[in-house]
Protein backbone atom coordinates (compact mmCIF):
# COMPACT_ATOMS: atom_id res chain seq x y z
CA UNK A 1 0.00 0.00 0.00
CA UNK A 2 1.47 3.35 -1.02
CA UNK A 3 2.08 5.72 1.83
CA UNK A 4 0.99 9.32 1.98
CA UNK A 5 4.38 10.82 1.30
CA UNK A 6 4.82 8.84 -1.93
CA UNK A 7 1.51 9.98 -3.26
CA UNK A 8 2.21 13.56 -2.31
CA UNK A 9 5.46 13.43 -4.24
CA UNK A 10 3.81 11.92 -7.27
CA UNK A 11 1.14 14.58 -7.30
CA UNK A 12 3.79 17.25 -7.17
CA UNK A 13 5.76 15.69 -10.05
CA UNK A 14 2.68 15.42 -12.20
CA UNK A 15 1.87 19.04 -11.45
CA UNK A 16 5.33 20.07 -12.61
CA UNK A 17 4.93 18.09 -15.81
CA UNK A 18 1.57 19.69 -16.38
CA UNK A 19 3.09 23.10 -16.02
CA UNK A 20 5.68 22.27 -18.65
CA UNK A 21 3.17 20.88 -21.12
CA UNK A 22 0.97 23.91 -20.62
CA UNK A 23 3.89 26.24 -21.30
CA UNK A 24 4.84 24.25 -24.41
CA UNK A 25 1.30 24.56 -25.65
CA UNK A 26 1.39 28.33 -25.26
CA UNK A 27 4.71 28.58 -27.05
CA UNK A 28 3.44 26.45 -29.92
CA UNK A 29 0.30 28.54 -30.19
CA UNK A 30 2.35 31.71 -30.53
CA UNK A 31 4.68 30.14 -33.08
CA UNK A 32 1.74 28.75 -34.99
CA UNK A 33 0.34 32.22 -35.48
CA UNK A 34 3.61 33.43 -36.91
CA UNK A 35 3.92 30.41 -39.17
CA UNK A 36 0.43 30.95 -40.51
CA UNK A 37 1.30 34.53 -41.27
CA UNK A 38 4.32 33.33 -43.25
CA UNK A 39 2.12 31.18 -45.43
CA UNK A 40 -0.24 34.04 -46.10
CA UNK A 41 2.55 36.45 -46.92
CA UNK A 42 4.08 34.07 -49.40
CA UNK A 43 0.94 33.52 -51.45
CA UNK A 44 0.97 36.63 -53.71
CA UNK A 45 4.63 36.12 -54.57
CA UNK A 46 4.19 32.44 -55.37
CA UNK A 47 1.11 32.98 -57.50
CA UNK A 48 2.68 35.78 -59.47
CA UNK A 49 5.79 33.76 -60.27
CA UNK A 50 3.85 30.74 -61.39
CA UNK A 51 1.55 32.75 -63.62
CA UNK A 52 4.48 34.54 -65.23
CA UNK A 53 6.23 31.24 -65.93
CA UNK A 54 3.08 29.84 -67.46
CA UNK A 55 2.61 32.97 -69.56
CA UNK A 56 6.13 32.96 -70.92
CA UNK A 57 6.16 29.23 -71.48
CA UNK A 58 2.92 29.25 -73.44
CA UNK A 59 3.30 32.44 -75.43
CA UNK A 60 6.99 32.20 -76.19
CA UNK A 61 7.28 28.42 -76.55
CA UNK A 62 10.36 28.16 -74.43
CA UNK A 63 11.86 24.77 -73.75
CA UNK A 64 13.54 24.12 -70.46
CA UNK A 65 14.85 20.94 -68.85
CA UNK A 66 12.92 21.74 -65.68
CA UNK A 67 9.67 22.08 -67.57
CA UNK A 68 9.39 18.56 -68.94
CA UNK A 69 5.71 17.84 -68.47
CA UNK A 70 5.74 14.08 -68.96
CA UNK A 71 8.74 12.65 -67.18
CA UNK A 72 9.39 8.93 -67.31
CA UNK A 73 10.07 8.06 -63.74
CA UNK A 74 13.07 5.79 -63.66
CA UNK A 75 15.28 7.46 -61.11
CA UNK A 76 13.40 9.13 -58.34
CA UNK A 77 14.49 11.21 -55.39
CA UNK A 78 12.14 11.36 -52.44
CA UNK A 79 12.60 14.27 -50.07
CA UNK A 80 11.22 13.65 -46.60
CA UNK A 81 10.49 16.77 -44.63
CA UNK A 82 10.21 16.24 -40.89
CA UNK A 83 11.03 18.27 -37.81
CA UNK A 84 14.15 18.13 -35.70
CA UNK A 85 12.21 17.78 -32.49
CA UNK A 86 9.59 15.40 -31.26
CA UNK A 87 6.72 15.75 -28.80
CA UNK A 88 4.38 16.70 -31.57
CA UNK A 89 1.96 13.80 -31.56
CA UNK A 90 1.78 11.89 -34.80
CA UNK A 91 3.42 14.64 -36.82
CA UNK A 92 6.68 12.91 -37.68
CA UNK A 93 5.33 9.40 -37.46
CA UNK A 94 2.71 9.98 -40.12
CA UNK A 95 5.33 11.29 -42.52
CA UNK A 96 7.74 8.47 -41.86
CA UNK A 97 5.13 5.79 -42.23
CA UNK A 98 3.91 7.32 -45.47
CA UNK A 99 7.42 7.54 -46.87
CA UNK A 100 8.20 3.98 -45.82
CA UNK A 101 5.06 2.72 -47.49
CA UNK A 102 5.93 4.68 -50.62
CA UNK A 103 9.31 3.01 -50.55
CA UNK A 104 7.88 -0.48 -50.19
CA UNK A 105 5.21 0.04 -52.83
CA UNK A 106 7.44 1.59 -55.45
CA UNK A 107 10.76 -0.08 -54.86
CA UNK A 108 10.27 -2.48 -57.75
CA UNK A 109 8.65 0.06 -60.05
CA UNK A 110 11.58 2.43 -60.27
CA UNK A 111 15.09 1.72 -61.31
CA UNK A 112 16.39 3.77 -58.46
CA UNK A 113 14.72 5.35 -55.46
CA UNK A 114 16.83 7.52 -53.22
CA UNK A 115 16.02 9.46 -50.10
CA UNK A 116 16.99 12.87 -48.95
CA UNK A 117 16.05 13.91 -45.45
CA UNK A 118 15.34 17.35 -44.14
CA UNK A 119 14.92 17.19 -40.38
CA UNK A 120 16.35 14.76 -37.87
CA UNK A 121 13.29 12.66 -37.16
CA UNK A 122 13.00 11.30 -40.68
CA UNK A 123 16.69 10.48 -40.89
CA UNK A 124 16.58 8.64 -37.56
CA UNK A 125 13.53 6.62 -38.53
CA UNK A 126 15.09 5.37 -41.75
CA UNK A 127 18.48 4.78 -40.24
CA UNK A 128 16.83 2.35 -37.84
CA UNK A 129 15.60 0.50 -40.94
CA UNK A 130 19.01 0.55 -42.60
CA UNK A 131 18.10 3.03 -45.29
CA UNK A 132 20.59 5.81 -45.71
CA UNK A 133 19.66 9.07 -47.31
CA UNK A 134 21.69 10.61 -50.11
CA UNK A 135 21.99 13.60 -47.91
CA UNK A 136 20.59 14.78 -44.62
CA UNK A 137 19.92 18.41 -43.96
CA UNK A 138 19.72 19.09 -40.24
CA UNK A 139 19.59 21.96 -37.84
CA UNK A 140 17.51 24.27 -39.89
CA UNK A 141 17.46 27.60 -38.17
CA UNK A 142 14.70 28.05 -35.64
CA UNK A 143 13.04 30.63 -37.79
CA UNK A 144 12.70 29.57 -41.37
CA UNK A 145 13.48 32.23 -43.90
CA UNK A 146 13.34 32.40 -47.63
CA UNK A 147 17.12 32.59 -47.81
CA UNK A 148 17.40 29.32 -45.94
CA UNK A 149 14.83 27.62 -48.13
CA UNK A 150 16.77 28.82 -51.16
CA UNK A 151 19.86 27.11 -49.81
CA UNK A 152 18.00 23.82 -49.47
CA UNK A 153 16.45 24.33 -52.90
CA UNK A 154 19.80 24.84 -54.57
CA UNK A 155 21.10 21.63 -52.99
CA UNK A 156 18.08 19.76 -54.28
CA UNK A 157 18.57 21.31 -57.68
CA UNK A 158 22.18 20.17 -57.68
CA UNK A 159 21.09 16.63 -56.79
CA UNK A 160 18.56 16.73 -59.59
CA UNK A 161 21.12 17.87 -62.12
CA UNK A 162 24.07 15.76 -61.01
CA UNK A 163 22.22 12.67 -59.88
CA UNK A 164 20.35 12.52 -63.15
CA UNK A 165 16.99 12.05 -61.47
CA UNK A 166 13.85 12.08 -63.54
CA UNK A 167 11.68 13.34 -60.73
CA UNK A 168 11.97 14.81 -57.28
CA UNK A 169 9.10 14.19 -54.90
CA UNK A 170 8.54 15.90 -51.59
CA UNK A 171 6.63 14.39 -48.68
CA UNK A 172 5.54 16.83 -46.02
CA UNK A 173 2.72 17.70 -43.65
CA UNK A 174 0.32 20.19 -45.10
CA UNK A 175 -1.28 22.57 -42.68
CA UNK A 176 -5.06 22.18 -42.78
CA UNK A 177 -6.07 23.79 -39.53
CA UNK A 178 -4.63 24.20 -36.06
CA UNK A 179 -5.70 20.68 -35.16
CA UNK A 180 -5.36 18.79 -38.40
CA UNK A 181 -2.51 18.07 -40.77
CA UNK A 182 -2.40 16.02 -43.89
CA UNK A 183 0.54 14.15 -45.34
CA UNK A 184 1.00 15.10 -48.96
CA UNK A 185 3.38 13.91 -51.62
CA UNK A 186 4.15 16.43 -54.32
CA UNK A 187 6.25 16.40 -57.44
CA UNK A 188 8.73 19.25 -57.09
CA UNK A 189 10.75 18.69 -60.24
CA UNK A 190 10.16 18.91 -63.10
CA UNK A 191 7.91 21.89 -62.59
CA UNK A 192 4.26 21.39 -63.35
CA UNK A 193 2.67 24.52 -64.77
CA UNK A 194 -0.58 23.04 -65.99
CA UNK A 195 -2.43 24.35 -62.92
CA UNK A 196 -1.36 27.92 -63.47
CA UNK A 197 -2.16 28.00 -67.14
CA UNK A 198 -5.89 27.87 -66.58
CA UNK A 199 -6.06 30.63 -64.05
CA UNK A 200 -3.76 33.10 -65.68
CA UNK A 201 -5.14 33.58 -69.14
CA UNK A 202 -4.84 37.16 -70.26
CA UNK A 203 -5.16 38.56 -66.74
CA UNK A 204 -1.86 40.30 -67.20
CA UNK A 205 -2.85 41.49 -70.64
CA UNK A 206 0.11 39.90 -72.30
CA UNK A 207 0.79 42.13 -75.23
CA UNK A 208 2.32 40.78 -78.40
CA UNK A 209 4.95 43.51 -78.46
CA UNK A 210 6.17 42.83 -74.95
CA UNK A 211 9.78 43.77 -74.42
CA UNK A 212 11.92 41.13 -72.75
CA UNK A 213 15.17 41.98 -71.12
CA UNK A 214 17.08 39.65 -71.13
CA UNK A 215 15.55 37.22 -73.61
CA UNK A 216 12.63 35.02 -72.48
CA UNK A 217 14.74 31.87 -72.18
CA UNK A 218 16.98 33.54 -69.61
CA UNK A 219 14.10 35.04 -67.69
CA UNK A 220 12.32 31.74 -67.49
CA UNK A 221 15.45 30.03 -66.24
CA UNK A 222 15.65 32.53 -63.43
CA UNK A 223 11.96 32.31 -62.70
CA UNK A 224 11.93 28.52 -62.60
CA UNK A 225 14.72 28.47 -60.07
CA UNK A 226 12.87 31.04 -58.01
CA UNK A 227 9.65 29.11 -58.35
CA UNK A 228 11.34 25.97 -57.14
CA UNK A 229 12.79 27.79 -54.14
CA UNK A 230 9.37 29.23 -53.41
CA UNK A 231 7.85 25.74 -53.50
CA UNK A 232 10.44 24.50 -51.04
CA UNK A 233 9.86 27.52 -48.83
CA UNK A 234 6.12 27.03 -48.97
CA UNK A 235 6.42 23.37 -48.02
CA UNK A 236 8.65 24.35 -45.11
CA UNK A 237 6.21 26.99 -43.95
CA UNK A 238 3.36 24.52 -44.15
CA UNK A 239 5.38 21.91 -42.34
CA UNK A 240 6.39 24.28 -39.57
CA UNK A 241 2.82 25.48 -39.11
CA UNK A 242 1.62 21.87 -39.07
CA UNK A 243 4.31 20.95 -36.57
CA UNK A 244 3.29 23.67 -34.16
CA UNK A 245 -0.35 22.78 -34.64
CA UNK A 246 0.34 19.14 -33.90
CA UNK A 247 2.47 19.99 -30.90
CA UNK A 248 -0.18 22.33 -29.58
CA UNK A 249 -2.81 19.59 -29.80
CA UNK A 250 -0.48 17.00 -28.25
CA UNK A 251 0.41 19.29 -25.38
CA UNK A 252 -3.22 20.20 -24.84
CA UNK A 253 -3.97 16.49 -24.47
CA UNK A 254 -1.02 15.96 -22.18
CA UNK A 255 -2.13 18.82 -19.96
CA UNK A 256 -5.62 17.36 -19.79
CA UNK A 257 -4.32 13.88 -18.98
CA UNK A 258 -2.06 15.25 -16.29
CA UNK A 259 -5.07 17.02 -14.78
CA UNK A 260 -6.99 13.78 -14.66
CA UNK A 261 -4.10 11.94 -13.06
CA UNK A 262 -3.77 14.65 -10.45
CA UNK A 263 -7.47 14.40 -9.65
CA UNK A 264 -7.31 10.63 -9.28
CA UNK A 265 -4.25 10.76 -7.10
CA UNK A 266 -5.66 13.51 -4.92
CA UNK A 267 -8.72 11.37 -4.34
CA UNK A 268 -6.61 8.41 -3.28
CA UNK A 269 -4.51 10.69 -1.13
CA UNK A 270 -7.52 12.08 0.70
CA UNK A 271 -9.01 8.65 1.19
CA UNK A 272 -5.78 7.37 2.65
CA UNK A 273 -5.48 10.40 4.88
CA UNK A 274 -8.99 9.94 6.17
CA UNK A 275 -8.37 6.24 6.73
CA UNK A 276 -5.27 6.94 8.75
CA UNK A 277 -7.09 9.56 10.85
CA UNK A 278 -9.91 7.14 11.49
CA UNK A 279 -7.45 4.45 12.58
CA UNK A 280 -5.75 6.89 14.89
CA UNK A 281 -9.07 7.96 16.44
CA UNK A 282 -10.08 4.37 16.98
CA UNK A 283 -6.77 3.71 18.66
CA UNK A 284 -7.17 6.72 20.98
CA UNK A 285 -10.77 6.00 21.92
CA UNK A 286 -10.16 2.31 22.47
CA UNK A 287 -7.14 3.27 24.61
CA UNK A 288 -9.33 5.58 26.68
CA UNK A 289 -11.99 2.91 26.99
CA UNK A 290 -9.37 0.45 28.21
CA UNK A 291 -8.12 2.91 30.89
CA UNK A 292 -11.65 3.47 32.17
CA UNK A 293 -11.72 -0.27 32.75
Amino acid sequence: MPNLKDIRNRIQTTKNTQQITRAMKMVSAAKLRRAQLNIQNLRPFANQILSVIADIATTQRVEHPLLNAHPEDQKVLLVVLTSDRGLAGGFNNNINRFAYKFFQDNRSKYQQLDFLFVGRKGADFFRARNIAGKETILNLAREISFGMAEGVASRLMAEFAEGGYDSVFLVYNEFKSAISQEVVCERLLPVDISKARVSSDSKNGFAADLIFEPEPALIIDDMLKKHFAVQVYRAMCESVAAEHGARMAAMENATKNAGEMIRGMTLTYNKLRQASITTELIEITSGAEALKG
Binding site: F146, E150, G205, L210, E213
Partner: protein, 142 residues
Protein backbone atom coordinates in the same frame (compact mmCIF):
# COMPACT_ATOMS: atom_id res chain seq x y z
CA UNK B 1 -3.65 55.29 -62.80
CA UNK B 2 -0.22 53.82 -62.49
CA UNK B 3 0.07 51.34 -59.65
CA UNK B 4 3.12 49.90 -57.93
CA UNK B 5 3.17 46.53 -56.18
CA UNK B 6 6.33 45.33 -54.49
CA UNK B 7 6.25 41.80 -53.10
CA UNK B 8 8.82 39.52 -51.47
CA UNK B 9 8.30 35.94 -50.29
CA UNK B 10 8.13 37.17 -46.72
CA UNK B 11 6.05 40.32 -46.97
CA UNK B 12 4.27 42.81 -49.12
CA UNK B 13 6.21 46.04 -49.00
CA UNK B 14 4.10 48.18 -51.31
CA UNK B 15 0.51 47.37 -52.19
CA UNK B 16 -1.50 49.13 -54.86
CA UNK B 17 0.23 52.46 -54.46
CA UNK B 18 -0.38 55.08 -57.10
CA UNK B 19 2.91 56.45 -58.36
CA UNK B 20 4.30 58.97 -60.80
CA UNK B 21 7.65 57.37 -61.45
CA UNK B 22 9.77 54.41 -60.50
CA UNK B 23 13.49 53.83 -61.05
CA UNK B 24 14.71 50.25 -60.87
CA UNK B 25 18.11 48.53 -61.08
CA UNK B 26 17.29 46.47 -64.16
CA UNK B 27 19.17 43.60 -65.76
CA UNK B 28 21.81 45.93 -67.16
CA UNK B 29 21.68 49.37 -65.65
CA UNK B 30 19.05 51.71 -64.29
CA UNK B 31 15.65 51.93 -65.81
CA UNK B 32 13.26 54.83 -65.30
CA UNK B 33 9.62 53.90 -65.73
CA UNK B 34 6.97 56.56 -66.22
CA UNK B 35 3.25 56.02 -66.69
CA UNK B 36 2.51 54.87 -70.21
CA UNK B 37 5.72 52.89 -70.59
CA UNK B 38 5.68 50.07 -73.14
CA UNK B 39 4.94 46.62 -71.67
CA UNK B 40 8.18 45.18 -70.42
CA UNK B 41 9.44 42.18 -68.56
CA UNK B 42 12.88 42.18 -67.01
CA UNK B 43 14.96 40.74 -64.22
CA UNK B 44 16.44 43.06 -61.64
CA UNK B 45 19.87 43.04 -60.12
CA UNK B 46 20.87 44.15 -56.63
CA UNK B 47 20.53 47.85 -56.04
CA UNK B 48 18.24 50.69 -55.18
CA UNK B 49 14.68 50.96 -56.30
CA UNK B 50 13.21 54.43 -56.06
CA UNK B 51 9.62 55.42 -56.45
CA UNK B 52 7.71 58.67 -56.29
CA UNK B 53 4.20 58.54 -54.89
CA UNK B 54 1.63 60.40 -56.96
CA UNK B 55 1.83 64.12 -56.32
CA UNK B 56 4.94 63.87 -54.20
CA UNK B 57 8.29 65.34 -55.23
CA UNK B 58 10.36 63.05 -53.08
CA UNK B 59 11.65 59.59 -53.89
CA UNK B 60 11.26 56.70 -51.48
CA UNK B 61 14.20 54.31 -51.58
CA UNK B 62 14.09 50.54 -51.21
CA UNK B 63 17.01 48.13 -51.40
CA UNK B 64 16.17 45.15 -53.60
CA UNK B 65 18.14 42.05 -54.36
CA UNK B 66 17.31 39.76 -57.22
CA UNK B 67 14.04 40.64 -58.63
CA UNK B 68 11.75 40.57 -61.50
CA UNK B 69 9.67 43.39 -62.87
CA UNK B 70 6.71 43.47 -65.14
CA UNK B 71 5.41 46.70 -66.60
CA UNK B 72 1.91 46.67 -67.95
CA UNK B 73 -0.39 49.55 -68.92
CA UNK B 74 -1.87 49.86 -65.42
CA UNK B 75 1.28 49.71 -63.42
CA UNK B 76 4.35 47.89 -62.27
CA UNK B 77 4.74 44.60 -60.41
CA UNK B 78 8.07 43.95 -58.74
CA UNK B 79 8.98 40.65 -57.15
CA UNK B 80 12.16 40.66 -55.11
CA UNK B 81 14.04 38.24 -52.89
CA UNK B 82 14.86 40.94 -50.43
CA UNK B 83 13.34 44.38 -50.15
CA UNK B 84 14.19 46.73 -47.33
CA UNK B 85 13.07 50.28 -46.87
CA UNK B 86 15.66 52.74 -45.60
CA UNK B 87 14.17 52.67 -42.11
CA UNK B 88 14.75 48.93 -41.88
CA UNK B 89 18.45 48.99 -42.67
CA UNK B 90 20.85 48.39 -39.85
CA UNK B 91 23.94 50.43 -40.63
CA UNK B 92 26.33 48.60 -38.35
CA UNK B 93 25.26 45.24 -39.70
CA UNK B 94 25.56 46.41 -43.29
CA UNK B 95 29.10 47.63 -42.63
CA UNK B 96 30.02 44.32 -41.04
CA UNK B 97 28.60 42.45 -43.99
CA UNK B 98 30.59 44.60 -46.35
CA UNK B 99 33.78 43.88 -44.45
CA UNK B 100 33.05 40.15 -44.28
CA UNK B 101 32.29 39.97 -47.98
CA UNK B 102 35.48 41.82 -48.88
CA UNK B 103 37.54 39.60 -46.62
CA UNK B 104 35.95 36.57 -48.22
CA UNK B 105 36.74 37.70 -51.73
CA UNK B 106 40.44 38.06 -51.02
CA UNK B 107 40.83 34.32 -50.44
CA UNK B 108 42.76 32.94 -53.44
CA UNK B 109 41.36 29.40 -53.06
CA UNK B 110 37.82 30.54 -53.61
CA UNK B 111 35.56 28.24 -55.57
CA UNK B 112 33.43 29.68 -58.27
CA UNK B 113 30.07 29.49 -56.54
CA UNK B 114 31.50 30.85 -53.31
CA UNK B 115 32.91 33.75 -55.28
CA UNK B 116 29.47 34.46 -56.68
CA UNK B 117 27.98 34.26 -53.20
CA UNK B 118 30.46 36.73 -51.74
CA UNK B 119 30.03 39.08 -54.64
CA UNK B 120 26.32 38.95 -54.11
CA UNK B 121 26.79 39.76 -50.45
CA UNK B 122 29.12 42.60 -51.31
CA UNK B 123 26.60 44.10 -53.70
CA UNK B 124 23.84 43.82 -51.14
CA UNK B 125 25.90 45.48 -48.43
CA UNK B 126 26.95 48.25 -50.80
CA UNK B 127 23.37 48.85 -51.85
CA UNK B 128 22.29 49.05 -48.22
CA UNK B 129 24.96 51.60 -47.40
CA UNK B 130 24.20 53.54 -50.53
CA UNK B 131 20.59 53.74 -49.49
CA UNK B 132 21.76 55.35 -46.25
CA UNK B 133 23.80 57.85 -48.23
CA UNK B 134 27.17 56.32 -47.45
CA UNK B 135 29.31 55.55 -50.46
CA UNK B 136 31.91 52.86 -50.49
CA UNK B 137 34.96 53.88 -52.48
CA UNK B 138 37.10 50.98 -51.34
CA UNK B 139 36.37 49.16 -54.56
CA UNK B 140 36.35 45.42 -54.98
CA UNK B 141 39.53 43.46 -54.86
CA UNK B 142 39.72 41.37 -57.98
Amino acid sequence: MFILNLVTPEKKLVTDLEIDEVIVPAYKGQLDILPGHAPLMTTLSTGLLKYRTKGSAQFETVVVSWGYMEVHPDGVVVLADVAESVAEIDRVRAEEQLKAAKAGLVDPLLENDQMVMFQHKLEKAQARLEALGIHDHGGTSH
